[in-house]
């Protein structure tokens, strides 16, 4: 492939007897923010480590821009990754932390100062990283990921420990980088963190992809086409709606539940039958609902995978 993508192809991975990845299979395209969600232990971190060449898969492969990570000459110019913000030598300054990474990629000291400026750490760059707050460490980790100006960026749980201001900054940063045409993969175990930011989500559980779709499509598909009607005469309304072939039933003395026809048609039918009604509400699922629906069968396996515990 000429365009940068991240491809994960049928990756299997065991840790001892525990199956961490069970045919993980998805592609991350450029120009949009892709959320990578699933309960703890679903295999998100393991997948990211396989993409980054840190863990060797038992079978299958992961490609970055059509190449295995271990074939990249200056990998951080292709993929920037934030895997663990706590991974710092406490006695080394933030600037020197970025400097050794820059040296390994043949990048200049100037680039180090640029990314420090970008993440807002310029003024504290010469302080020991051991004294940084969790949020500052996240910013430093993001600076490291951006160092090589890579076309693909992978972030494993980047919002952990960030203050609300930081989370907003982070969302804007990732969105703008997606707009520039980069591949952005952001993992989280909380779907709510991805709301308003992700264009696309890959939902995983037990080492497999459960859903891989646009956010809008997922919501539409998950929303049962249920319409709720407020009326003082529910039994008349039910019989009028059943007459046109809809499934309707009385929920309580003021409420009818209808499915099988759209809200627009419900209004038409009730008006024609002269049934008085107060409100017609089309129920729509939230991203959180979608996620809970998809993963309800998976959460009980939390903790048995063991791969999150390895962090």
């Amino acid at each position: 492939m000429n365009d940068t993508t991240i491809e994960v192809e049928s990756v299997h991975k065991h840790f001892g007897t525990a199956l961490a990845l069970d045919g993980m299979n998805f592609t991350v395209l450029p120009g949009r923010v892709t959320g990578f969600v699933g309960p703890n232990g679903a295999g998100k971190s393991t997948t990211i480590r396989v993409i980054l060449g840190l863990d060797a898969p038992d079978s299958g492969r992961a490609l970055v821009g059509g190449q295995p990570y271990r074939h990249l000459r200056h990998p951080l110019r292709h993929v920037g990754a934030l895997v663990d913000a706590a991974a710092l030598q406490p006695s080394r300054s933030a600037r020197n932390h970025l400097l050794w990474i820059a040296r390994s990629q043949g990048l200049s000291t100037r680039r180090v100062d640029d990314v420090l400026e970008l993440v807002g750490l310029r003024d504290v760059a010469r302080r020991k990283a051991g004294g940084y707050s969790l949020g500052m460490r996240q910013r430093l980790g993001i600076a490291a990921a951006l160092l090589g100006d890579p076309p693909a960026i992978i972030m494993d749980e980047p919002f952990n420990g960030m203050d609300p201001e930081g989370i907003i900054w982070m969302r804007q940063l990732l969105r703008s980088m997606a707009t520039e045409g980069r591949v952005i993969l952001v993992s989280s175990h909380l779907m709510s963190e991805l709301q308003d930011m992700a264009d696309h989500v890959v939902v995983v559980g037990r080492g497999r992809v459960l859903a891989n779709d646009g956010v809008d499509e997922l919501i539409t598909r998950a929303s049962k086409d249920e319409v709720v009607v407020r009326t003082d005469t529910p039994s008349e309304g039910v019989s009028a709606l059943q007459h046109v072939g809809a499934v309707a039933r009385v929920l309580d003395p003021n409420t009818i539940s209808v499915s099988g026809i759209e809200a627009q048609r419900v209004v038409e039918v009730l008006s024609q039958a002269h049934v008085p009604f107060g409100e017609v509400i089309a129920q729509r699922a939230s991203l959180e609902d979608v996620y809970l629906q998809l993963t309800s069968g998976e959460v009980e396996f939390r903790g048995t995978m063991g791969n999150e515990a390895r962090q």
Binding site: P30, G53, L72, H74, R77, V83, Q105, S176
Partner: protein, 534 residues
């Protein structure tokens, strides 16, 4: 945004990666942790400091009897002295033994001396170590390297160039010159029924030794060319008999008595007017002797008793210090510091999870390990070299000030000890880095480093018997063999043990053993690193 507008795969960016950026990266890592820099500096200073302290702790001096009233040390008439007994220095700068009985005459120009040796017998001192040896407490016995024969020497000064043909206690007839050269002649012991004839000729600077069983058929044993030999030299008969270590580890002085007959110089019977001296048996001379005597015999004969040796000086007798005897402790301390730093260089990354950042930046894990090995190896080499160079310089100064004898070592040997110290610390550091890579935990890796690289030295230097010797041959402690400076001689029977400062392996062989361990550890670390998930 400070980023480009059209991100895509950088061109020509697929490849195996190059080594130099990784080296620069790892060097940046190393130099940006201040504690490691301080540790490295401390290692050098501790090495220098402890070397100086060990050297400064050595003081020499003593009395050979009650001091004469009203006289200070080293003044005429005093039996007390400050400093080490006198150790002569040979023509090539080496410490030598040069003590013997001598009945001699001057020889100007070319000439030949011939003599018949009809007996060679000896006694061994039985005095306890607390008493001065004397001829009154001896038992019969002839040292292997008891010597009796013809000696030509450029001057009576100890350490002068010489050549000699001699009958020996257990090595037959030998031709020796300038303390280290030896060639064998007729085998067998000298007895009345089987005497030996010896002959030494001078022709310019060329000296030749012969032997014969009958005085008519002569065999040449060897030739020596002594450059710069003066026109007039001393030539004569000598007897000497070295300290034996056969029954006591401290050594027992011996004396030998030889009977010489039919002495001729340039074909003319002579000996009556020859002078008799005892060389190197004064109160300040280091070599233990049992006394000397000369008895003239009729028919150009002489019975000569003597004690001492003409050979390389060896440490159990000369009792000197050398670079390795003072630098070892400082080096051990520096090594422990370096073991800790080498361990931290990798284990901190594992503890903090930083290793994943390292391996995403450089997926060629072998590069990461080899660049770390180069950096810690070079740093440790510099630590060992600087610490040893400054420590030995300061330490030898202290030794001299305190009146100690320093075994002379040539520039090559001193250079080898200094850079060898660096190599010892450097190679150990690389091996410890490899072990730490395998173990990943600071505490266990530091423990392993000390157990493998420090403990064998400590055990080896206090163990008695063969254990220490084998530890310095087979374990990583063999690396310390690179410190050996004392010259060995096959012409002296003495215990060449660790306790006397003689390391069991040749310097480079010892270092090679250490390198083999480091190579093994590195190979295992490369293997594990390649196989393991990060």
């Amino acid at each position: 945004m400070n980023t480009s507008n059209t991100p895509s795969m950088p061109p020509n960016e697929v490849g195996r990666g190059s080594f130099i950026p990784v080296l620069r990266s790892e060097w940046t890592k190393f130099r940006t942790v201040r504690g490691w820099g301080i540790g490295v500096l401390a290692a050098v200073l501790l090495c220098v400091g402890f070397t100086f302290l060990v050297a400064n702790g050595n003081n020499e001096g003593g009395c050979t009897g009650p001091p004469a009233p009203g006289s200070g040390p080293n003044s005429p008439g005093s039996n007390c002295y400050v400093g080490h007994p006198f150790v002569p220095i040979g023509p090539n700068g080496e410490a030598v033994a040069d003590s013997y009985s001598y009945v001699h005459h001057r020889l100007t120009g070319n000439g030949t001396v011939t003599v018949q040796v009809t007996s060679l017998t000896g006694v061994i001192s039985t005095s306890p170590a607390s008493e001065a040896p004397s001829l009154t407490r001896t038992k019969p016995g002839l040292a292997q390297w008891a010597k009796a024969g013809i000696l030509l020497t450029s001057s009576a000064k100890q350490g002068s160039p010489y050549a000699a043909v001699m009958a020996t206690g257990g090595h037959g007839v030998n031709w020796q010159y300038n303390y280290t050269h030896d060639q064998s002649g007729l085998p067998g012991a000298v007895t009345n029924s089987s005497p030996r004839w010896l002959r030494l000729t001078r022709n310019g600077n060329t000296l030749v030794g012969y032997d014969s069983t009958n005085g008519t058929t002569w065999l040449e044993i060897g030739t020596a060319r002594l450059a710069g030999l003066p026109a007039t030299v001393n030539i004569g008969l000598f007897v000497t008999s070295p300290v034996t270590f056969q029954s006591t580890s401290g050594g027992a002085p011996t004396a030998a008595t030889a009977t010489f007959d039919h002495i001729t110089m340039n074909g003319r019977a002579t000996v009556a007017d020859w002078k008799s001296t005892s060389v190197g048996s004064g109160p300040r001379d280091y070599y233990p002797t049992l006394g000397a005597s000369t008895t003239r015999r009729p028919d150009n004969g002489v019975v000569l008793s003597g004690s001492g040796d003409i050979s390389l000086a060896v440490n159990p007798l000369a009792g000197g210090d050398d670079a390795s005897s003072i630098v070892w402790f400082g080096l051990l301390v520096a090594l422990i510091m370096i073991i800790v730093i080498a361990t931290m260089f990798i284990t901190v990354e594992y503890r903090r999870g930083l290793i994943r950042t390292t391996f995403t930046a450089t997926h060629r894990r072998g590069f990461v390990l080899s660049t770390k090995a180069i950096i810690i190896g070079v740093v440790a080499f510099v630590v060992g070299t600087l610490g040893s160079a400054a420590g030995v310089a300061l330490g030898e100064h202290a030794l001299k000030n305190n009146g100690n004898f320093i075994f002379p070592a040539n520039t090559f040997t001193v250079t080898r000890v200094i850079f060898g110290s660096g190599a010892l610390v450097g190679v150990s550091a690389v091996a410890v880095l490899a072990i730490a890579t395998i173990l990943r935990k600071s505490a266990s890796a530091v423990t392993a480093g000390i157990v493998v690289f420090v403990l064998p030295y400590v055990i080896g230097s206090i163990a008695t018997g063969g254990v220490g010797t084998w530890l310095f041959r087979l374990t990583p402690a063999a690396g310390f063999d690179v410190l050996g400076t004392l010259p060995r001689s096959t012409l002296v029977n003495f215990p060449q043990t660790m306790a006397n400062g003689y390391y069991p392996l040749a310097p480079w062989a010892g270092l090679a053993v250490l390198c083999a361990y480091a190579a093994l550890a590195l190979a295992m670390a490369f293997f594990v690193l390649r196989r393991r998930d990060a």
